[in-house]
């Protein structure tokens, strides 16, 4: 892991999270440098989503600290981490069901441009926001459904919107929680394309079970097992790692 020559954007040190007596995350340290393409893999229940929740502030760590651009953000509430450039997507769609994709993006953008408290101007009154909305809708193939209520959208479209929302926040660090999970084969290509086309300067932490995507995408990988880091390294090293194989084969065997 030779990251010292690059600027570290996000780093977590010694994160521990306990629920009652159960340790969900045990002493995890992780760092992302600028423009990173980092994958977080591990069997089900390894604590990947918990880790994301800790990083984004949905959960408070029992121990350890988190730094974003060198500043300690361990105690910051979730929305302030977003303001500082760390944005996530969700494994299970978390969308605004009664709003349209257009409204969703417009409101996300207005919040992002600090217009969230403006109550005297109508939504859609701002040129910059409208244009950016149109760009994003194009980019994520949502233009033709932009005026449909989100809850009526096809699953793949909702998945796309999930990522579009995150990108609307212009993240410097993007945490993608299983972006292609559950997407039917037909709608998959669109999604994969958008993930690989993410802007270069954005540091991405990807959680994914789809190993094709992971190995195509990631330049660095962390393997999480039972809430702790098993190993970390570049894809080749991970692919050859016996321990990792054992874990995956072991769990595979257990499933099979």
């Amino acid at each position: 892991m030779n990251t010292t020559d690059q600027e570290i954007v996000l780093s977590a040190q010694g994160l521990v999270k306990r629920f009652g007596g159960i340790t969900a995350t045990g002493n995890v340290s992780l760092s992302l440098c600028k423009g990173a393409r980092h994958a977080l893999i591990g069997p089900n229940g390894a604590g990947k989503t918990t880790l994301i929740n800790l990083l984004t502030g949905v959960l408070q760590p029992t121990e350890g600290s988190i730094f974003l651009n060198g500043q300690d953000i361990t105690r910051l509430p979730p929305h302030q981490r977003v303001h500082r450039g760390m944005v996530r997507t969700f494994q299970i769609n978390q969308l605004f069901d009664t709003l349209t994709p257009l409204q969703t993006l417009a409101l996300t953008l207005s919040q992002h441009y600090r217009h969230g408290m403006r109550w005297w101007k109508a939504l859609g009154n701002n040129h910059r926001i409208n244009e950016r909305c149109e760009e994003l809708l194009e980019q994520f193939h949502l233009a033709e459904v932009m005026n449909q209520q989100t809850r009526h959208l096809a699953y793949g479209k909702r998945r796309l919107l999930e990522i579009a929302i995150a990108l609307a926040c212009e993240p410097r660090v993007l945490l993608l929680d299983e972006p292609v999970a559950g997407v039917p084969a037909g709608e998959r290509e669109e999604l994969l394309a958008t993930v690989t086309a993410l802007p270069e300067e954005v540091s991405v932490l990807l959680i994914e079970h789809d190993m094709d995507l992971v190995f195509n995408f990631a330049k660095c990988m962390t393997v999480l097992v039972n809430g702790t880091v098993l190993t970390e390294g570049d894809p080749d090293a991970i692919a050859k790692n016996e321990q990792v194989k054992a874990v995956y084969l072991g769990t595979e065997a257990a499933h099979g």
Binding site: P77, T98, L99, A106, R118, K121, L123, H127, I165, A168
Partner: protein, 319 residues
Amino acid sequence: MESASLSLQAHSRWKHLETVFWLFALLSPWLLAKHALIINEIVIVALFALSLDLILGYTGIVSLGHAAFFGFGAYSAALFAIHVMPDPLLGLLFGAGISLLLGALCSVLILRGSDLTRLMVTLAVALILKELSNKLSWLTGGTDGLQGVMMGPVLGKFDFDIRGITAAWYSLAVTFLLFLLIRRLVHSPFGATLTAIRDNRLRAMAIGIPVSTRIAVIYSISAAIAGAAGALLAQTSSFASPDVFAFDRSADILLILVIGGTGWLYGGIIGAIVFKLLQDVISSITPEYWTFWIGAFLIALVIVGRERFLYPWKWFAKR
């Protein structure tokens, strides 16, 4: 592709029929002079329901104690008239302002917990205030109510008359202005973030919306508007009694809003018109048993469906 700006602003643009409705409403004390009193009451209830719609319909915060702010506004305005000055507009501002502060204080209580928790906490606040208004009789007149409220003329010109015409104009004008503000607000970026909070708090946080602050802000605004409605009641009836905090009032306003439908501004207004007129008409026919028919109406409304009930011509369309 249709332009984003057009689509986004489609909702906030005034529709013709909306304009006609408000024209009719504003002229109603003149057109229906005989019924100015009930118009006044309906308008006040509608404004109160509108304030609840802001938190329930747009932000998803349930409350069974919104009368807390209504009553607080009523007492504040009445006391202002007695001890400071009888000018209605200043009293109204005072009532709304005081309720705003109370709303800000109470917003701490409703941030956590489930819907049931919020229902009960808001309810408890209203009931505690009711008990206070009963106990602090040196200030509030206790159970007998606050007497001797003498209101000055509106804008120094229009005296409140016994037929209730001035009262109806006054309430209508205030309600219309507040409606304009509310309408602006819900169609703004701020309003959109509220809807976002209602639909999905987790995601709202994840796009950088400070959820707790937003809820506190809108709760305070809603409280101020409820307070304004209460102030209108106290001013137009020159009276306030602990009853303004009653559980029934909070529950009725919830019913009224839900009758008309939440989250589209006109729900509370339609609910107020329907509920109050039904109550007035039925209870003048059968003073003892009118609740039976109101109950039957509510059940029918739910079973048949609000849309089809209030707009029967849609019934056929849907089949």
